[in-house]
Structures are given as structure tokens and as C-alpha cells.
Amino acid sequence: MRVPWSDPRLIFPLVAGAIALGLVVHVKPPITPQEPVVAVYNYIQQLPKGSVVLLAVDFDPQALAELRPIAEAVLRHCLRQELHVVGMTFGVLGAPLGYDIFRKVTSEPEFRGKQVGVDYVYLGFKPGDMTQIITNMGENLLTAFPQDYQNRPTATMPLFQQVKSLKDVKYIIDLAAGGTPDTWIPFGSDKYKIPLAVGCTAVMGPDLYVRLNAHQINGLIAGLRGAADYETLLGTPGLGIGGMFAQSLIHLLIVAFVIASNVAFLWRGRRRKQRG
């Protein structure tokens, strides 16, 4: 028998109300960053200035809500540490998203002095098989990406005087909404001995712990919670921390519904028993 509050006409508005309340009311819930997120933060923190970090923006609009906050936080951290960031994507729909993220972060007052082709570059999308492109990047980044996303020749960029191939990259961070880490690990990280971290959707998180335990990736930032963890470590609140109170409220709502439904179930069972 259904309980009265299982009606979607009640549940949906309540969830919507909880989210709206959680976003509008500025409450920052206690956030203790998880170990895999701290590992990424610490690794970037100890990289020498000027090291090249490859940021693979391998997601599309469906995963924007989860991966955009991670991408922004990681990019901010890299630029703050004066690392050089090379962005790229294997997702065709991710190409404009990655460009938008780079444009937004680099236009913040803190990073106004950063120059395209010197401190960072966004290479955009390259069609084809991932294994082949990664291998091509391992041989020569300039032949893999002769132009950046805005069709500027990469050969003349000062950044590419320092980094000729994937072997010159000190850290790869794959922001993934699909199976790209499974290709980055054997063909990028293992082959060229480059540490790899993954930022991913929450759905992918549990599957990637296997890679984490096998030390195939050295850190993991999963979902909006991962983004909130990273923003906490960075001390720069963004969309991740902004969404945490709303997420907590939805969790409380779900727990309340589960408890209420179970109580109703037990109570009805007891009444049925009493009636015989």
C-alpha cells in the first residue's frame, strides 16, 4: 500500500524547494576534504613553478554541473601556483565548454596577467581514436595540435618551446564524464610515466577507486562533493561549495521520507495484526 507522501506532486516541489532554499540561504556545511582530493591538491602544490600540467576537459554538457566546478577549481589552483596549463578535449561537445572555462577563469582579476601561449593554452578538440592521438601527443604535441582552439599556430607559442611532447608534461588531470581515464591510464600515464589524476562525475567515482587503489591514478575528485572539497582546500568558494547545503537538504529530505515510510509500514502492519 502506498503512503500519501509518495505522490510525485508532493515530492518534486519539496525537492525543488529544498534546493532553492539551500542555494539562496548562505549556509556553509562543514566540509572535510576526502583523502583522494587532498592528494591532487598536494601534488599540484609541490610541483615546481613553470611545470606543465595537461588539463583534459573530456566532458560534455550533460556533466557540466558536476565537472565545471572541478575544472574551474583545478585551473585556478594551477595558475595560482604559476604552473603552465595546456587544455584539450576528446569530447567534441566539450570543446566550447573547455574554452568557456579557460576564458572565464583567466579573465578573473587574479589572473589578468596570464597570457595565452605563455602561461596557458586551450588546444580544443581533436577527432579520432584516443589511443592514436595520445600516442601522437607523446611523439610530438605540435603535430597533434598544430593550432589551438582559436586556430592560432602552436609552433610559435613560447609555451611550446618548453613542452614538445607529452613526455614534458609533469601532471595530467583528466576531467572525465565517460571512459577516457581507461585510455589515459595505459596510453598516457603508464606509457610515459606521467602521474595522472581524475576528476569525474559522481556516478563514475566508485569505479575509479579501483584505479586509485592500484596507484594508477594518484588522486580522484568525484562529483560536486569533490569540487566542494577542492574549493575548500583552495580557500576559494565556488559552485561546488555553493551546492553543498542544497545537497545536504535533499539528503535530509530523502532520509526523512525513508524513515516516515518505514514508520508508516510498521504502524500499518501492527494495526493489521491487531485487527486479526
Partner: protein, 375 residues
């Protein structure tokens, strides 16, 4: 049916009206148009308004399937395909094929570079794949496909096996050395679980006490494992939560004392809830103290290795169907089911969080980018 259609139309008209009024108000109060460095950004304004309309159209599916939802859905698919074509053309095909092969070939005074002529081979192979659509010449597409399959098999098999099988097996079998404190914890757990299993069939208070002790030990390990890990800047307020739990337990127990004098079941229930909260608080404090111990990290690493090894072995046992699941194999396969359930539970929890994040993302857009209600 006719009434239902009329209701749907009325709802759609009301939504459209609300959107028009809301946008007009936003323009009137100056929230719209979107401004970039003080200058109105009309293309971005159009993007925001279109995004709002599309978001509401997609959310309308919560009411029921309707033409607005289907229009938004089809528009998304079509736009995705269009953007894919445009991005592929501008970021790859134009600079790497058209500009260096087609433009010089048809521009007077320009010649195609010799090395660039090699591009004709992959272009030819690609065109051969397109012949798949022809009934008469479909067989031609098998040649490039055979080439592709052969090339990728040879290229991918070794790294994939190394990464997905050998490396995983290595890390599962090779365990971290266990310090004496870890062995003490493992020994205690084994004794407790064995005693719990033995006395479970006999019932009685000892059985209940052992079950509670086993649960408390498991909870303590989980708490210690999750609170003792991060080595970053000091953040978080888990201590506050523990003390909030203590305060709750104290209030519940005080209330239990008050209601106990009046008789009835309320006092007993309050005692139970207060006692549980106090037990969790004590376990939390003990676990936190252990987590701060110097050897804690090593113990956690060793325990993780043991749990993973046990999990893999027991789950494999569950999937061995050529042996009857009785005796040791039966016990191991039952443990395997527990490991599988824990894994499915974790995946489901993460999946729920992911879906929540998507809704939160849309609300951040509606309340932030459109209504400017978020800071």
C-alpha cells in the same frame, strides 16, 4: 481527453505568461540584459533566456510527456550534432585537410606539398568505409575495417592487459606490511565475529551484546578510516558534529529521565535513542583518538589491502558455479554477496548524488545566471 488537453494548454499558456512577465520585470529592474564590464551583452542575454526556456521545457516532463519537452529534447540532439560537425570542420578538417590539400590544388600559383599527398591514403580509406551504405559496394568497407581492427588490436592489447588485468592483480595480491597494532585489531575483529557467529544461534543477552560490539568495532573502523586520512590544510568541523551528537544524547537521556518517572514507553524509547547516540559518540571519540596515532595510516593501508583481497576472493567464489555453495565455499560466497551489496550501495549512493548535482546545477543557473539571487 478533451478536458485534459485544455488543462495542458492552460498550464502551458500560464507558464509562457509567467516567463514573459518574469523576463519583462528582470529587464525593468536592470537584472537583464547580462552585462560584461558594464556593457550589455545581448548574445549572452539571448543564451540565458533560451537556456531558461529550455530548462523549464525539459523539467515539464515531470508533469507528463508533452510537445515542449519533446521539442527541447530534439533541439538538444540536433544542436549537439550541428556543433559536432562545426567543431570537427573548424578544428580538424579545415586546417589539416582542406587548407593544405584542397585550397592549394585549386588556387593558381599554389602547389600541394609532396608529404601532404600522403593524406590521400587515410581519406581514401575513410571514403571506402562510407561505401558501407551501398548494397552493391558494401564489401569494399570491409578492407578499411579489417585494417582498423588489426591495427588497434596490435596496438592496444598489450597495454590494456597490463593496465586492466596484471596491474590490478598485482595491487590486489601485494599487501602492505601490517604493524602489531593492526594485527591486534584484526585479531580482535576475528575473535568478536567468531564469537558473534557462535552465540547468534543460541540467542540471549550475550548474543545481543556481541552483535552490538561487532557493529561498534565496524563503525569505529569506518569512522577512524574516514576521519584520520587527510593531510592537507586544517579544514572541516567534524569535531563540532561529534560534540553536537554528545549534546543530543545528553538531551535525550535527560528527557528519558523525566518521562521514565511518568511511566509508559516514551521514556524507554528516549533511553534507547539517547544510548545509541552516546555509544556512537564514544565510538567516534575512540576512533578519532586512534586515527591520530602514528601507526594509524599504516594500519589503514594494511586493513584496506586485507579487505580488498578478501572481497575479491569471496566475490570470485560467489561466481564459481561449478562448485556447490556449501561449507567454506558457501560461507565465502555469502561474504561475496555482502561485498557486492556494499559495492552496489556505494554506486547507487554516488548515482543519486550525481543526479542531485545535475538538478542543483540547473537551479544554480536559474537562480544565479537568470534571477541573480545567488551571490
Amino acid at each position: 481527453m478533451a478536458n485534459s488537453s485544455k488543462t495542458d494548454l492552460a498550464i502551458a499558456l500560464v507558464c509562457a505568461g509567467v516567463l514573459v512577465v518574469a523576463n519583462t520585470l528582470l529587464f525593468a529592474v536592470g537584472t537583464l540584459p547580462v552585462r560584461r564590464e558594464g556593457i550589455p551583452d545581448w548574445p549572452q542575454t539571448l543564451v540565458v533566456i533560451t537556456g531558461v526556456v529550455m530548462t523549464i521545457a525539459i523539467f515539464s516532463f515531470l508533469y507528463r510527456d508533452n510537445p515542449f519537452f519533446r521539442a527541447a529534447e530534439n533541439l538538444f540532439v540536433g544542436l549537439g550534432l550541428g556543433i559536432s560537425l562545426a567543431v570537427t570542420w573548424y578544428s580538424f578538417f579545415k586546417p589539416e585537410v582542406y587548407d593544405i590539400l584542397v585550397v592549394p590544388a585549386f588556387t593558381p600559383g599554389m602547389t600541394v606539398g609532396r608529404s601532404n599527398l600522403l593524406l590521400l591514403i587515410p581519406i581514401g580509406l575513410g571514403l571506402m568505409i562510407l561505401l558501407r551504405m551501398s548494397r552493391s559496394y558494401g564489401w569494399v568497407s570491409r578492407y578499411p575495417m579489417a585494417f582498423l581492427v588489426g591495427y588497434y588490436s596490435g596496438f592496444s592489447i598489450q597495454p590494456t592487459i597490463h593496465s586492466n588485468i596484471i596491474k590490478q592483480m598485482q595491487e590486489t595480491v601485494v599487501t602492505t606490511p601490517m604493524p602489531w597494532m593492526g594485527w591486534a585489531v584484526v585479531g580482535l575483529a576475528v575473535v568478536l565475529l567468531a564469537a558473534t557467529a557462535y552465540f547468534a544461534s543460541k540467542g540471549g543477552r550475550l548474543s545481543v551484546a556481541l552483535k552490538i560490539a561487532s557493529g561498534a568495532l565496524g563503525l569505529a573502523y569506518v569512522i577512524a578510516r574516514t576521519t584520520g586520512a587527510p593531510q592537507g590544510p586544517p579544514v572541516g568541523r567534524t569535531e563540532d558534529l561529534a560534540w553536537a551528537l554528545f549534546a543530543t544524547a545528553a538531551v535525550l537521556m535527560a528527557a528519558a529521565g523525566y518521562f521514565a518517572s511518568r511511566g509508559g514507553k516514551v521514556g524507554a524509547w528516549l533511553w534507547f535513542m539517547g544510548g545509541t547516540a552516546m555509544l556512537i559518540f564514544l565510538v567516534n571519540r575512540l576512533a578519532a583518538a586512534f586515527a591520530r596515532h602514528a601507526v594509524a595510516a599504516q594500519v589503514f593501508a594494511s586493513m584496506d589491502s586485507i579487505i580488498i583481497l578478501l572481497g575479491v576472493f569471496s566475490v570470485l567464489c560467489y561466481f564459481v558455479f561449478s562448485l556447490e555453495h556449501r561449507g567454506v565455499v558457501g560461507a565465502l560466497s555469502r561474504a561475496g554477496i555482502i561485498f557486492l551489496m556494499v559495492a552496489f550501495g556505494a554506486s547507487f549512493g554516488y548515482a543519486v548524488m550525481a543526479r542531485e548535482s545535475l538538478v542543483i546545477g540547473r537551479f544554480q543557473f536559474l537562480l544565479g545566471d537568470w534571477l541573480h539571487l545567488l551571490q
